[in-house]
Symmetry: C2
């Protein structure tokens, strides 16, 4: 459990990459999807259920956990792995993104960001150093640097300023991280620069010079069109070293992930499978289905007979429809399970296709399946 | 799967009974606790999780299922076992109790009860014959006769009238049930009579003359003091035949069940373990604990290290406290699991104690554990 953090590129197929990284709590096959365990739980699912979907790593949110129950508390209780009973790797974000999206009265300075908690109104400060400290207290296998996320669209001037600040914070994050170096644990830098390609590339180059164990592309999936996001990804990944993992933060739909892998991304996280599951939506190889729709009410077929996951093969669409209409917790639980399992199945399919050198085929077949839509009702 | 419904009394210890019944979908050891699957799901829990608690039978609610998704719909989809993917026995109630407690504009007549759905305001009718038909469509291993439940306190005159009506409905229910007789399926009669012992005993005697496969004691746990309930149970069970199971409907707390088993009851159902679990309350061998209480916030111990169920042994009290405070679905899921597991463990303990002829010891030891309260905090 104390191997050095390492990433191995096993195979490339075009820009798509099949890899593996070794973290203190285990190995992770890439491309990888990380279910989001916002407040110390992947919403509604036990760790056993999450593991059963094929997930090998989950994400924890620094912002939520620092406010409740508190990073020091989690550390006293043995760290986040023990706290939430998740024995495999955990990546934590830096808290910066959610300070921007959830808290009020934010004040940004060179030093860091002060903000009012959305829970109780108490004032908190998050600096690059404190963010690293919190992530170490949580015991994250992979920590993220604190960065400043802008909403798009933004002016070039604002984007440049935020990107430069994020670079200085990257440096401070790295120094803080190395000051408490623990064998095998990793820190990722985050490329910023909005939708401005030269700024993105400058950010990437400067981060690479600092030498992180992995690189994230942040500040995307914040409202920009998909083609803008993919363009940024496409122009950024070539600047990143091939021998380090690349993580596209907060992304996305199955199609986003397929296209981002095609452009050299290795890791993803997103609340969509759980959030949409709680709202009655299922991700399937036929595309998304709204289980609240009356057409499912009498349909005895499972969601997807071909799914490797039993939950998608076992319960009828009629039953899932009923649970959604009756607002039963079990509906949220089953659809969240099915959705994460679909995301993980898609990742496994991509990994297999890249390894076999047939990623382009897999990509077009998968998209065709989504476009063809649901199999005809009985 | 087509054996005749049968109950075997394996051992008696005082009035407490250790038995077993055979239903079309399996064997059930008694005393038995039936988790409540109100709308076709035990709230928040997959069938695998429910089975993992030790439950061998669940209860389904006719009122909820007739309104949504509808009994005919469930039948088209293969019956309730297939619909909810619960392969073991199911007992359904008659719908009468919930018509009284949930619907508006009820109108009771000799023929049955008409009522307005609490979901969409549509008018429905429930007669003894329709209730039996619905329960047959659902595919219940054990059906219950339609009865009239009064709230207590009530006048002797009202209690007598409702009891007499319930007896006539028992007769009609039995006739309807036998008209569609299916090998191995059972119909239970329901003793009514409020808190009036002579009326209770008259009700029991007349039902026994009609000859049901089992007998329920209904109309209790509706607000009366525990000693009143236990007195009714104590004076009713001796009138019931020893070779048939006895079911105390809608009961109750662990203490209620322990005392009712001591008075000859074999079966129970109650929403308390799931409902209280959703509100942060855990049932344990130390008595009930409120996980929202701040004293659990830093407590690394599991809820109950001696529990045979892993969920009660695995997660720390601090984590459960966190989930409850953060209003995470997983808190409801884990506490519902823990609570049903506690109920099932209590039943298993009672079965073992009766078999060994030491029920009195088990009863006093168990009560002493609850009274002693939680083990001291660290």
């Amino acid at each position: 459990m104390s191997e050095r953090f390492s990433f191995t590129l096993l195979k490339a197929d075009g820009a798509a990459r099949r890899g593996e990284f070794v973290a203190p709590h285990g190995r992770v096959q890439t491309p990888a999807f990380m279910p989001v365990g916002t407040q110390g739980s992947v919403k509604g699912l036990t760790p056993e259920v999450v593991r059963g979907t094929g997930a090998e790593i989950v994400l924890g949110n620094t912002y939520h956990l620092m406010l409740r129950p508190g990073a020091e508390r989690v550390a006293e209780l043995g760290g986040l792995h023990t706290f939430m009973q998740w024995p495999l790797p955990i990546l934590t974000d830096s808290g910066g993104f959610q300070v921007m999206s959830l808290s009020s009265l934010r004040k940004l300075s060179e030093r860091g960001v002060t903000f009012r908690s959305h829970l109780d109104g108490a004032m908190h400060e998050l600096s690059p150093e404190r963010s690293i400290e919190i992530q170490a207290l949580l015991g994250a296998d992979i920590s993220m640097q604190l960065d400043e996320c802008l909403r798009l669209p933004a002016t070039r001037e604002d984007i440049d300023r935020a990107m430069q600040l994020s670079l200085r914070w990257a440096e401070r994050s790295k120094k803080a991280f190395e000051g408490r170096a623990r064998e095998g644990y990793a820190l990722f830098g985050i490329v910023q620069g909005g939708d401005d390609i030269p700024l993105r590339q400058q950010s990437a180059r400067e981060l690479v010079e600092m030498d992180f164990q992995g690189y994230a592309i942040g500040g995307l999936a914040v409202g920009e069109p998909q083609d803008v996001m993919l363009k940024v990804v496409e122009e950024t990944t070539p600047v990143l070293p091939t021998e380090r993992p690349r993580y596209l933060m907060g992304v996305g739909t199955p199609h986003d992930m397929l296209e981002a892998v095609a452009r050299g991304v290795d890791m993803f996280d997103c609340v969509m499978p759980t959030r949409n599951g709680r709202h009655g939506m299922a991700f399937t190889c036929f595309g998304p289905l709204n289980l609240a729709n009356a057409r499912h009410a009498a349909d005895p077929r499972p969601l997807d007979e071909q799914s490797p996951h039993p939950t998608a093969r076992t319960y009828s669409r009629a039953y899932l429809h009923h649970l959604v209409k009756a607002n039963e917790i079990l509906g949220a639980v089953l659809l969240s399970t099915i959705n994460i399992a679909y995301y993980e199945t898609l990742m496994a399919g991509m990994r297999e296709a890249i390894a076999a050198g047939r990623f382009a085929d897999f990509r077009s077949t998968t998209i065709a399946g989504w476009e063809q839509g649901d199999i005809p009702a009985l």
